[in-house]
């Protein structure tokens, strides 16, 4: 599998794994959000190494630019930036058992992926063809507005619906003062 430079792949994979562990382990939600930014940027670098340049740019724009800022904004809005000791509330044996089970699951996944020979039907988009057609971004964009136009429109409707839902849910209800706002 050609990823440009293997060294950079290992580097960013290590950063992503460490940062995603930090998200779970950190007591303070602000530290968790900062670790989440690091994990997202490292994953964006992995996408870029895999040749998905448009997805990498989208990752930076949408996740680190919008989602994480939204998280930090909500943390500040709710004054929730104090350490929460929720991990310590589960008993030590339950925690150890969960971590053991999930680590075993990762091991099983690694074993299966290593043993499997992927007999996938090969599509027509080899790296040479992609670069001949004008690069990853151009190929993905042309497909998005031709073959996947229906999914694109549906996703637009979904975004509109989610905006309406957020406004309705987060709106303060004053039933006694005649509803409305």
């Amino acid at each position: 599998m050609d990823v440009g430079s293997p060294l950079f792949f290992y580097l960013f994979a290590g950063i992503a794994m460490t940062a995603s562990l930090m998200v779970v382990v950190n007591k303070n939600p602000v530290s968790s959000a900062m670790s989440l930014i690091v994990a997202f940027v490292a994953l964006a670098a992995v996408y870029a190494l895999l040749g998905a340049h448009l997805i990498a740019a989208m990752q930076i724009l949408v996740y680190t630019g919008a989602v994480t800022v939204l998280f930090v904004f909500v943390i500040m809005l709710l004054n929730a930036d104090f350490p929460s000791l929720d991990l310590a509330r589960t008993s030590r044996s339950v925690r150890a058992f969960t971590v053991f089970l999930l680590a075993g699951l990762i091991g099983i996944f690694a074993f299966i992926f290593r043993a499997t020979e992927f007999g996938l039907i090969q599509g027509g988009f080899t790296p040479e063809i992609i670069s001949a057609k004008g690069g990853n971004t151009k190929v993905v964009s042309e497909l998005m507005f031709s073959e996947f136009i229906l999914a694109f429109e549906v996703v637009g409707i979904l975004l509109l619906a989610s905006i309406v839902a957020v406004v309705i849910v987060a709106m303060r209800k004053n039933a006694e003062s005649g509803g409305g706002r």
Binding site: M1, L36, I75, V169
Partner: protein, 104 residues
């Protein structure tokens, strides 16, 4: 010293590692903010899996699906944080143990 080349199973194992770390966060943490962050991590692991299979099979459908997953994840986090604000307004807490209105 030569660095070993990247195999497809390494990328898929990275994806499953991040997914399971997110799952562990959902199971072990009680802070809903952190649980939402872990949902984002799990969705990102799925995106990584789609991108790597797109690379393995020389097919662009995986990358298109990854794009749509990113959009849905953004919508999901917005709705989740809106629900979190509504919950904080009634319960004054971001702890999932405080959601027990049906029990009382």
């Amino acid at each position: 010293m030569t660095i070993p080349a990247v195999q497809p199973w390494m990328v898929l194992t990275l994806s499953s590692f991040i997914f399971i770390v997110g799952l562990a966060g959902i199971v072990l943490r009680r802070n809903i903010l952190v649980m939402l962050m872990c949902i984002e991590l799990m969705l990102n692991a799925t995106v990584l899996s789609f991108v790597s299979f797109s690379k393995i099979a020389f097919d662009m459908t995986g990358e298109l699906t990854a794009f749509f997953i990113i959009v849905v994840a953004a919508a999901e986090s917005a709705v989740g944080l809106g629900l979190l604000i509504a919950m904080f307004r009634t319960l004054r807490s971001v702890d999932s143990d405080q959601i027990r209105l049906l029990k009382e």
